[in-house]
């Protein structure tokens, strides 16, 4: 009898610890939110909060794709370049088939790029860091070539401006778009066979193989999905920013990685999800927004973001060891 009692107590302690660690980022989010609300009048207004999310909408969609890839124990450094290429292809083809063709092309381009990444990483098994660095150059170069280095402008369109600028019942469409994307990706990860297999591969690809999972296909699929979502992100981008210059998407990559890592999805794979990324997105959004409100110069913003990434990664590492400890 005594034994069970002791076991219970230590189990409760363990339970608390596990809960605390898994929700730590949520706490950080809440603290940040409260802190900002108290320190600046400009923060807690509907308009500002909406703006906050408008600004990170593109990043949010990209983060969904990046989450998928990272869960599979990989990363896609060409993501921003894919968004850029898809946007360029979209705008260039608008004169030929209208806006729907543009959208279709953007998604197609994104998916194909994802497929290229997925092939070399999933099938050929080359180093995912260098491959996606190389494809980043390839995709950027392709974008430059087909646009001949010119800046492009998307023609104004009712649909785009609807997505980009309008609101439904006072709620910005672009945010609804973001939320819907996140929900769908979340369902994909948690509630589909493919998603379950992805987690398995990310946690232990050996065991996944023995369980009959085709690990090559799963990994390839994760990069294809990321490519697809980058294509979608490019549509969001075109609706918000009609003028496109190749290279303007470059800073997104770093931000997206920061968002996913901040949220708590582990770089070692198999752990995390859209819920976590959403929290990371909110935290990032608040920091971004706050730095703008506080009028911090661009260069220092970059510096701070870099430090945040390092801290987030250190925290991720700390978590990893804690996970192993609290058995």
């Amino acid at each position: 009898m005594n034994e069970t009692k002791v076991a219970d107590k230590s189990n409760i302690k363990k339970g608390f610890a596990r809960f605390f660690f898994s929700q730590a980022m949520l706490l950080v989010l809440i603290i940040l939110f409260v802190a900002m609300s108290l320190s600046s009048d400009l923060f807690l207004t509907t308009n500002n909060i909406y703006n906050l999310f408008r600004q990170v909408a593109i990043l949010g969609v990209m983060a969904c794709g990046m989450t998928v890839v990272i869960i599979g124990k990989g990363i896609d450094l060409s993501a921003a370049a894919i968004v850029g290429l898809a946007a360029v292809a979209n705008v260039m083809l608008q004169p030929y088939g209208g806006y729907f063709l543009g959208v279709f092309v953007a998604i197609l381009v994104g998916t194909v790029c994802g497929f290229i990444n997925g092939y070399f990483i999933g099938k050929v098994r080359a180093n995912f860091i260098i491959v996606t660095l190389a494809t980043q150059i390839l995709f950027t170069a392709t974008a430059l070539i087909i646009s001949e280095g010119r800046n492009l402008t998307s023609k104004p369109d009712r649909i785009y401006s609807f997505i980009g600028n309008e609101s439904v019942f006072g709620f910005p469409v672009i945010i609804i778009f973001l939320i819907v994307t996140m929900i769908i990706t979340g369902i994909l990860l948690q509630r589909t066979i493919a998603g379950r297999r992805l987690y398995a591969v990310g946690l232990n690809d050996n065991a996944a193989l023995v369980s009959g999972i085709n690990t090559s296909n799963v990994i390839m699929g994760s990069y294809v999905i990321n490519g697809f979502l980058c294509g979608v992100a490019s549509i969001v981008m075109t609706s918000r920013i009609p003028r496109i210059r190749v290279g303007q998407t470059a800073p997104y990559l770093f931000d997206v990685i920061t968002i996913v890592v901040l949220g708590g999805t582990a770089l070692t794979g198999g752990i995390g999800g859209i819920y976590k990324t959403a929290i990371g997105l909110c935290i990032f959004g608040i920091i971004n927004n706050s730095m703008a409100i506080l009028a911090i110069p661009y260069e220092y913003q970059q510096l701070i973001k870099g430090i945040i990434l390092i801290l987030a990664v250190l925290y991720d590492e700390f978590n990893r060891r804690k996970r192993l400890l609290y058995q």
Binding site: I187, Q190, R191, T192, I193, R196, R197, Y199, A200, L203, N204, N206, A207, A208, L209, V210, S211, G212, I213, N214, G270, I271, Q327
Partner: protein
């Protein structure tokens, strides 16, 4: 005559792991210039003893003395500093470096701030000639054969003035000719005062090279003798010598006559050669033999995890091509790996997620998504059927005991209702209670018509469970035993090659 001092003494060593007492009061004394063999079945405690000596484990109880002085071995580097060198089965050499450099790794000869390559080559050459080894100091290590890697490791240890060199199954992957060579070299080193602890199943070799032999069984020392005072037969008796009794209950049912799996001429270069056998419905077929004989490789290639170079497999009379594990599962096979913690279950997943991993298609809603309700129901059913002790299906599998993890692995594999079930060391490292449950389960499965293949190194398990046993030695099928012919001694003799 005054007693000669012992070089190494391990006195009353005990070591336990959760659920298992690996060593129980083992005493082992080694003199200078001796070749001392340690033999025993798998699980007898040999590798635990060696790991303690080489610094990877610490003993719970007992003393270790070198030249009469008590020591505490802190870690592998410390062991090396004390003069204890272990030659591991996985090479500890740097592949892209030259032979000479591997020997002098970390202590290259330096003069005037500059590494003296010529001196290194010359020094290495001298060591080789001292030991009568034919190795080229300038050769790239990766170009050497496995046997030469071993010689290199020995030379390396010797050059570090090792007092004790531990060799664990050194002849496992080398030819007979190389073995001859190896023995000559061992005799050489020993003449110069180094002692060798030699672990091997190959009794013939032990009688060729060793001076003394200790037999371990169930973590205890059974006997220690001079090699010339005993015989191979005796050793086998000591290794097994237990009252088998009928721990496994009656096998009152017979296998059917219907052949469910047929393997013909399975070959994979370097691993196994020309393996042919049948498996009948309702039969439990055992693969016996020493570790490294190739049993795991054979069954893994049947399931699709390793490549078969040639040979055919027939299931239910039809030839099948199994190129990967997905094919294996689709053709009705199931496989539980020897390394179940790493390969058969996913530690980071919950019990529920592990169990349902192969059944995802069955728990979908009409929309094609995974139904949480169906999944939970399914998982709970299996947890109950298999008596998995877990506080909930949401418990992470890594928090379960070894026996329960194995049950989860079994549940997962059986969820596809396979026709043929392959288990590699199904109860290795599991406590007695869970062992019994798993054995009962396996028998029930056979009774229900499944064809079962068990690879096991525990002779009582093989004898108690199987209808027929195939003994594999060095990649070849040596002999098939029928139930009535089964006894531990014959199995062991066949496995080590005393036939």
């Amino acid at each position: 005559m005054p007693e000669q001092k012992y070089l190494l003494e391990m006195i009353d060593i005990s070591k336990s792991f959760p659920g298992v007492k690996a060593l129980d009061g083992v005493t082992f004394k080694l003199r200078e210039g001796q070749v001392f063999a340690i033999v025993g079945e798998n699980g007898a405690g040999k590798s635990t003893l060696i790991k303690i000596l080489s610094g990877s484990y610490t003993n719970d109880h007992g003393q270790i003395k070198i030249n009469g002085r008590e020591i505490y071995i802190r870690n592998p580097m410390h062991a090396m500093q004390l003069g204890i060198n272990t030659i591991y089965q996985e090479t500890s050499l740097v592949p892209e470096m030259t032979v000479a450099e591997n020997i002098f790794l970390g202590r290259q000869p330096i003069k005037g701030g500059r590494i003296q390559w010529q001196k290194m080559y010359d020094d290495a050459a001298r060591i080789f000639s001292d030991l009568s080894m034919e190795l080229d100091p300038r050769a790239k290590t990766i170009d050497l054969s496995a046997a030469q890697h071993q010689l290199l490791e020995i030379a390396k240890a010797f050059s570090r003035e090792a007092k004790i060199i531990i060799m664990d199954e050194p002849t496992a992957s080398i030819t007979e000719e190389d073995t001859e060579n190896l023995f000559n070299i061992i005799k050489n080193i020993v003449k110069k005062g180094t002692s060798v602890i030699y672990i091997s199943h190959r009794l013939k070799e032990i009688f060729q090279i060793a001076d003394m032999v200790t037999v371990l069984r169930d973590g205890k020392t059974v006997t220690t003798k001079k090699v010339k005072d005993t015989s191979e037969n005796d050793i086998v008796k000591y290794m097994i010598g237990r009252d088998i009794g009928d721990i496994f209950g009656e096998k009152s049912y017979e296998a059917t006559d219907e052949v469910i799996l047929q393997a013909k001429n399975l070959t994979s270069m370097g691993l196994f050669n020309d393996i042919s056998f049948n498996l009948k419905k309702g039969e439990i077929l055992g693969f016996s033999g020493l570790v490294g004989a190739g049993r795991s490789e054979i069954v893994r290639s049947i399931f699709g995890l390793e490549r078969l170079e040639s040979g055919k497999i027939y299931i239910d009379g039809q030839e099948v091509k199994i190129r990967n594990s997905t094919d294996g599962i689709n053709k009705g096979l199931a496989f539980v790996s020897e390394d179940r913690r790493i390969e058969s279950i996913i530690q980071g997943f919950t019990v529920r997620e592990n169990i349902t991993l192969l059944l995802l298609r069955q728990i979908l809603t009409r929309a094609g998504l995974i139904s949480a309700r169906k999944e939970a129901r399914l998982a709970r059913k299996y947890v109950e059927d298999f008596s998995v002790k877990t506080p909930s299906i949401e418990q992470l599998v890594m928090n379960l005991s070894g026996g329960n993890q194995q049950k989860v692995a079994l549940a997962k594999c059986l969820s596809t209702s396979p026709k043929i079930f392959i288990l590699d060391e199904p109860t290795k490292g599991i406590d007695v209670g869970a062992k019994k449950e798993i054995h009962t389960l396996i028998k029930e499965l056979a009774r229900s018509g499944m064809g079962i293949i068990i690879v096991s190194s525990e002779l009582p398990e093989i004898i108690g469970m199987c209808h027929r046993v195939l003994v594999i030695r060095e990649g070849k099928l040596i002999k098939e035993f029928k139930k009535s012919e089964l006894n531990e001694e014959d199995l062991m003799h066949t496995a080590v090659g005393n036939v």
